[in-house]
Structure formats: C-alpha cells, structure tokens
C-alpha cells in the first residue's frame, strides 16, 4: 500500500534496493516520535546546543517604514550553524544514533544543511559525507570549508546541472551502495515517505514557538505567515501549527530567478506540473516528456526543480499561497533588511522578506505578519557583492 500521501501527492517512489532502509527509518521514527525520552533528549539538544527557542522579534523600523502591518521576524538565523536546518538534523541524527547507524550522508544546496549535518556528526560521533553540486561549491565556498573544518568529507557533484537536484541524486546513489551503517539525513520536506513527514515534524518547532510567542506578545494570531520555499522545510515548519487556524494566510515564496516568464527560474508552483521524482509525487519543473528542467536561482538553497508533497497539497487545497520572487527583488530585500534592522538574512530568506515588503503596505496597522528568517546571510555576502559587480575575495 502506498504510504505518506498528502492528497494525491507523496508516496514512496524509491528503488527496491533502498526499500528496507526506508522502512527501517519509518519504523524507527514511528516508535521514537512518541517516545518521551527521545523527545526530551531532542528538546535538550535544541535548547542547550542549538540555542532554541529562537526569538520572535518585532521589526519596528521595518514596520514603520513600510507603513502597514506589524512585522515580526522569526529568528531562525540565530540558531547554531545559522539556519533552521539544525532543527531537522538534530532530530534525524538522534534517530540515526538510536538506529545504531555510524555514518551520516546528506545533500546540500547552499551548504547550510551540509554544515548542520557535519555539526551534528561532530557532536554525536558520526562519520559524515556531504554531496554538493559543483556550481554550489563554487558560489558557497565558505560553507564547503566549514564542513571540512567540522570533519566531514565534501564530494563535489559534477553530473547533470551540478546543483541541489544532482546532489540529491548522488546522495541516493551513495545510500544504495551502503545502507547497513548509513543514514541519509534528507534536508527538506521531500523524498519518499517518511522523510516529508519526519522533516516537517522536526521543523514544526518553528510554528509551535511562533504561535505561543505571538499570542504572548499580541494576544492574537498573525494575519499572515511568510516563508521562502525550495523543497520547503522552513516554510513547512513555519506553517504547520497555523494550518488549523484558517484565517492565518500562509504564503510561500518561490525563487523566480530572472523572472517566471523566462526559462531561468525555480518557481515550481508557478511553472511546474505534476510528476514523480525523488521519491514523491508532487509538482516539478519539467518538459512535456517528463525530463526534469534545469532550474536557476541566485539562491543555491532554493535552486531545486520540485517542492515537498505537503506544500503541493496545501496549494491544491488553497490553504497556502505560493508567490514567485525574482533575484532582483530578493537582493533588494537582502540589502533592505540589513540596513533597516541590522539583520543580514540568507539570500533564501530574503525572498520571504521581499514579499513582506509587498504585502505589509497593503495591510492595516493592527494586522500582523510573521516572516520566517530561515537563515543568516554571512554565507551570501561575497555572492551578493559579485551580483552587484564587486569582486570580493573570501
């Protein structure tokens, strides 16, 4: 029987070679997710090691400047390792430990998930190998060195488009060669079941905290929650506990690259169609014969031709909205938040900031927006300088 369905999306489209490994993860997760001792251990790691709960910060200057809704920033950029990725990684690494695994492998786009995985591996004593597209090792050289510093081996992927999608292909291939001692720490709410559910659960700490924090500060829920979407893990985490609150708008910001009207974008909902790839049925950027399209974004973390199956379902049911944000808009937001609030966001997160800048002025002063700042932008400084025509050597 097909498992892990979100409406028509999801499933377990994975080679037979990996099925027992995936079933092993599924069984372990089913067991440990309801185990109070496991959850207590994870909470302790999240709080004492990763620095949770992350702050919900009232962006007063940004609010005043935009002249509309009150803007709160959920500060996932303040987590240890600099992004929301650590939430999922600590969960999966702890699960891998319980499963008796000794080696972690992972794909990475911007390098944030790779850094988080290498960090957890160092902390918990795993061997660690990270797969990263050549295009991304070039534009995120700092993160490559961080991973090596943490003791991980970084494999540069030169197949296909040499970006995140190809890094995922290569990590799946690596997993098929060695499943006994190895856990694949998938970095987003994608892939075959149980990954979309498990990663969402580990990331849902974002909206669990944000919901309590906004109720404590404002005594009411927000009118909108905005997050950037590549595979969609920070957005799924930021949305999840607000899904039952039907009047809270959930808005995912896709990477429109040079524009959704061009062929250089990664806007899966705007331009994609239904397909089956990377273990799941969902929406993908592809051609009429089902060949996955090369995608483009200034942001390595959003440069992915698909979207997690639960997002696809939230789109189908219209519970969430997905909007495209171009490179230019994201870069402008990157600079805007830096100057206005003294917060340099990841270029991924800047896509969410960009839409908040559009939406806030259309709302009233008693309305509230929460923007998930999924990561910090230190890693992007050199790339943004290049984008602006300045050559900075890291």
């Amino acid at each position: 029987m097909s498992k892990g369905k979100y409406g028509i999306h999801g499933g377990q489209y994975t080679p037979e070679t990996l099925m027992n490994a995936i079933i092993e993860v599924e069984k372990a997760y089913e067991h440990y997710k309801n185990d109070p001792a496991f959850q207590a251990e994870l909470t302790e790691l999240l709080n004492d090691y990763a620095g949770r709960p992350s702050r919900l910060y009232y962006a007063k200057k940004m609010t005043a400047d935009l002249g509309g809704a009150k803007i709160y920033l959920k500060r996932e950029d303040l987590n240890h390792t600099g992004s929301h990725k650590i939430n999922n990684v600590l969960g999966q690494a702890l699960l891998a430990k319980k499963m008796g695994k000794t080696r972690l492998i992972a794909e990475t786009g911007a390098g944030q998930h790779g850094v988080a995985t290498a960090t957890a591996a160092a902390l918990m004593g795993f061997e660690c190998e990270i797969f990263m597209g050549k295009e991304d090792t070039d534009r995120q050289a700092l993160n490559v060195f961080r991973m090596r510093l943490l003791g991980a081996t970084v494999h540069v992927v030169t197949s296909g488009t040499m970006t995140l999608k190809d890094a995922v292909n290569e990590t799946f291939r690596e997993w098929t060669t060695r499943v006994d001692d190895t856990h694949y720490v998938l970095g987003s709410v994608m892939g075959p079941h149980p990954f979309p559910e498990m990663v969402r659960d580990f990331q849902s700490v974002i909206s669990r905290e944000a919901r309590e924090q906004i109720l404590a500060k404002e005594g009411k829920l927000p009118d909108a929650v905005i997050a950037c979407v590549g595979g969609g893990s920070n957005a799924m985490g930021a949305f999840y506990n607000f899904i039952p609150d039907e009047y809270v708008r959930l808005i995912g910001c896709e990477a429109a690259g040079k524009g959704v009207e061009t062929e250089e974008h990664a806007a899966t909902i705007a331009r994609g169609s239904l397909g089956i790839f990377h273990g799941m049925k969902s929406y993908f950027c592809q051609d009429e014969y089902g060949q996955i399209a090369p995608v483009y974004s200034i942001s390595a973390g959003l440069d992915y031709p698909g979207i997690g199956p639960e997002h696809a379902h939230l789109h189908d049911t219209k519970r969430a909205e997905y909007v495209p944000i171009t490179d230019d808009e994201a870069v402008a937001a990157f600079e805007y938040l830096s100057r206005t609030e003294g917060i340099i966001p990841a270029i991924e997160s800047a896509h969410a900031i960009a839409y908040a800048m559009v939406l806030a002025p259309t709302m009233t002063k008693d309305q509230i927006i929460i923007v998930n700042v999924s990561g910090r932008g230190d890693k992007d400084v050199a790339a943004i300088a290049r984008y602006k025509g300045e050559d900075i050597h890291e």
Binding site: S2, P15, E16, A21, S159, R173, I276, Q286, Q291
Partner: protein
C-alpha cells in the same frame, strides 16, 4: 503492430536455454544507430533487449549509463521518437523488447497513453527502477491492460521482502546482483544462490541477474544459478568508446557472452 502474446513472449526465451539480455540507452549516439545496434545484437544471439528511455536524473544508474542518458538527451531523443524506432525494429525482428525507464517519463507521458503505444509498437514489458512494490498497483493495471509485464526487481537488501515480491512477478525477475548503482564490478559478493532459492519456493517466474556483469567468466558463473544474465554498462561502454562504429564490436561481444552461458 499489436501483439496479443506479449506476456508469453518474455518467458518463452527462458524455456529451453539460458537467456542473454542486453541493455542499451536509446538515442546514444543516435536513434538510427540504436536501431542498428539492436538488430545486430539480436542477430548475434541476444534473447531480449532492454531499451533505456533516457531520463534527466537516472538515480539507479552508475556513471557509465548516466553519461549515456545525458548523450541521448543532448541528441534530442524523445519518447515519441523512440516509439517510432521500435515500430521500425518490429518490422524486422520478433525478439522480445522491454523498456527501462523511470516513473516520471511514463507518468508525464500519461500512463494509459504510454502503455497503449507500447502495445501498438510491440513492446513486451517495462522495468521501472524507482517503482517499488508498494507503488506498483496502478502501473501494473495499466500495463497489464495492454499485455505488458512490469518486471519485478529484487535486491540483495530485499531479504524478508523477497517472497512477497516474487509471488507478484511476471515475465522475468530482475535480480540485482550487488548493492549500489549499475556498473561493472570485478567481484559480486551477494549470495545469489540463496536469494534464487527463496524465489523458487514461491515462484516459477524465470530469474535473470544483472548489475556488474561484464565478462564471459562472470556470465558462466551467474548462468549456473539463474535463468538469464543481464548486461548493461559493459555494452553501453562499448557504444561510448566506439560510437557509430560500435556495431561489429557489439555483435562479437554478444556472441561471446551468449556462448559463455551454461
């Protein structure tokens, strides 16, 4: 050309001999050459040809076949052009033909339309590496409706799943010899005999072994414990090295491999 005996046609090749199954990627280096290679391998003694429909992201393939997929797509190979090629081949040979491709090219083409066209041009079965037992239902129904077998893959890690998978199998069972992706290996360590025994307890469907087989010595050894031998990467490598001039080399290779089966 419609073929009402599709289902029987695959198992027939195992009836009184060990079968040699050859894989190549359609459109590498061109569909015209693929057609020539298939006819040459059939004439040289191949019993079944697996035709790879190239996919942008072949996650079960090693570097050799992955590169062939990339070359074929760069040569503008499409599913429709491959169907047309198979139609031409079917006028010249009755050898069973099976497609190997991933879920997405089939799903996006439209499952019903894909399998109806398979039947029309004379394809006998399909191998889909990213379609496990758990997701097979709908595809098996669509394919079966057009007389095609959906070939069951069994892996060294299938363990407690082996008999569940084997009970379900038609055409032949594709036993994956080793962990990992496709590609030539110097040594196969899996206890294949034990897996074949497990299969035999519940199924009479012929078992062919693939992944990592390249030499006549390996073919001899494998054919002693299974009904057939599948070779992919070694053939694709010959095509990669010799390109348009590969035909006589492929014929010699297939003849040698077929003769090595016992």
């Amino acid at each position: 050309m419609s073929n009402p005996n599709n289902v029987n046609q695959i198992s027939r090749i195992f009836a009184d001999q060990k079968a040699f199954i050859a894989f190549l990627t359609a459109g590498d280096p061109s569909l015209q050459k693929t057609e020539e290679f298939i006819l040459a391998m059939a004439a040289a003694g191949a019993d079944l040809i697996e035709i790879g429909i190239p996919f942008s992201d072949p996650i079960a393939e090693g570097p050799v076949i992955e590169a062939a997929n990339e070359r074929a797509l760069r040569a503008a190979t499409t599913t429709d052009k491959i169907f047309a090629m198979v139609g031409r081949i079917r006028e010249k040979t009755a050898i069973p033909l099976v497609f190997l491709t991933y879920m997405n090219p089939i799903f996006v083409y439209g499952g019903e339309r894909f399998f109806a066209t398979c039947e029309e041009v004379g394809i006998n079965g399909v191998i889909i590496p990213d379609l496990p037992y758990e997701e097979k239902g709908e595809i098996r129904e669509l394919a079966g409706g057009h007389g095609l077998d959906v070939i069951t893959l069994i892996a060294p890690t299938s363990q407690d799943r082996i008999q569940m998978l084997a009970r379900d199998a038609t055409g032949f069972i594709y036993l994956v010899s080793s962990m990992g992706v496709t590609g030539v290996r110097s040594e196969i360590k899996t206890d294949l005999a034990a897996i074949v025994d497990d299969i035999r307890q519940v199924s009479k469907t012929p078992v062919a072994v693939g992944f990592g087989i390249a030499t006549p010595e390996q073919a001899t050894a494998i054919s002693k414990l299974a009904d057939g031998v599948i070779v992919g990467s070694a053939i694709v490598r010959i095509i990669a090295e010799h390109g348009a001039a590969a035909t006589p080399i492929l014929s010699d290779y297939v003849r040698t491999m077929k003769a090595a089966l016992v």
